[in-house]
């Protein structure tokens, strides 16, 4: 006895095209939103050479503990703030 052939889940070509565009656009917008909220990524596998040389200098010049692309791309700002670490003498 011949079994009836099962029809596929999506048979419309246009629906499939829309699905493919939707997945790609979703990844584009999702990634844009994510990247906008996470500009810094200290764990990124690749950092340009400038990061390796400029980051220690930046850390020394400012009291900020964050390192990454924003700080470097906008230049290192100098501060006149007093050191935050103090020693207590009893």
């Amino acid at each position: 006895m011949k079994q009836p052939k099962r029809s596929p889940l999506v048979s419309s070509v246009n629906v499939l095209r829309a699905l493919a565009v939707g997945i790609t656009m979703l990844s584009l917008t999702g990634m844009t939103a994510y990247a906008g909220g996470h500009l810094h990524n200290a764990t990124a596998p690749l950092q340009p050479a400038a990061a390796a040389t400029a980051a220690p200098a930046a850390a020394a010049a400012t009291t900020s503990t964050t390192t990454g692309r924003l700080q470097l791309s906008r230049g290192v700002t100098t501060t006149t703030a007093r050191p935050v670490t103090t020693t207590h003498h009893s």
């Binding site: 099962r6 889940l9 999506v10 493919a20 584009l28 990247a35 764990t43 990124a44 690749l46 340009p48």
Partner: protein
């Protein structure tokens, strides 16, 4: 402005990889029938044709954004000659190679009528190499694939592609076997 360029570079890079995954997946499913439960071959072909074209503007936007970004230090020469960048030459060079290979594959598809079937197929199979290079480029150079969630998604996608690729390989072997046995049977 520099932040915006950086955001565009990251988002278009990821979206281009997603489009490439869809393209490779649908391309492999065309022969193996791995997506037969999901759609018929005509639909899978439509997705394959669309995603191949969809990939191009995203990849171009990714490259232009990186060239405009002074932090990334990517020049025009890096698009032509891979492994020239002063840092992460392997990671970025793999991206250059995958870009060049996929452009060759796309051009060969547009010129398909003037190529022999064997010649076109040989060039088209370069897309597998291109995909592996693009995936490695994403892992090694991609800022965001260091994130656990994105990394997990990328590896799951790679595993799905590997399974479909294996099915594609076994399907083509299965088609070849009867022909071979027939050839042997002929005296």
């Amino acid at each position: 402005m520099i932040d915006l360029i950086w955001i565009v570079a990251r988002s278009t890079g990821t979206a281009a990889l997603v489009a490439l995954v869809l393209s490779v997946l649908s391309g492999m499913a065309l022969r193996s029938g791995a997506l037969a439960w999901f759609s018929h071959n005509r639909g899978v072909r439509a997705v394959h044709d669309l995603t191949s074209v969809l990939w191009l503007p995203l990849a171009i936007a990714h490259v232009i954004a990186l060239m405009l970004d002074p932090y990334a230090k990517i020049g025009f020469a890096d698009l032509i000659v891979p492994f020239l960048v002063s840092y992460g030459s392997l990671a970025i060079g793999l991206g250059t190679i995958s870009l060049q290979l996929i452009v060759v594959v796309l051009i060969s598809t547009w010129l398909r009528s003037s190529l022999t079937q064997q010649g076109w197929l040989a060039i088209h199979r370069l897309s597998y190499v291109a995909f592996v290079a693009a995936f490695a480029h994403g892992l090694l150079a991609g800022t965001d694939l260091a994130q656990p969630l994105l990394s997990a998604l990328a590896w799951i996608t790679a595993a799905v592609l590997a399974i479909v690729g294996f099915r594609r390989l076994t399907a083509s072997r299965g088609r070849q076997s009867p022909a071979r046995s027939k050839t042997v049977a002929i005296p």
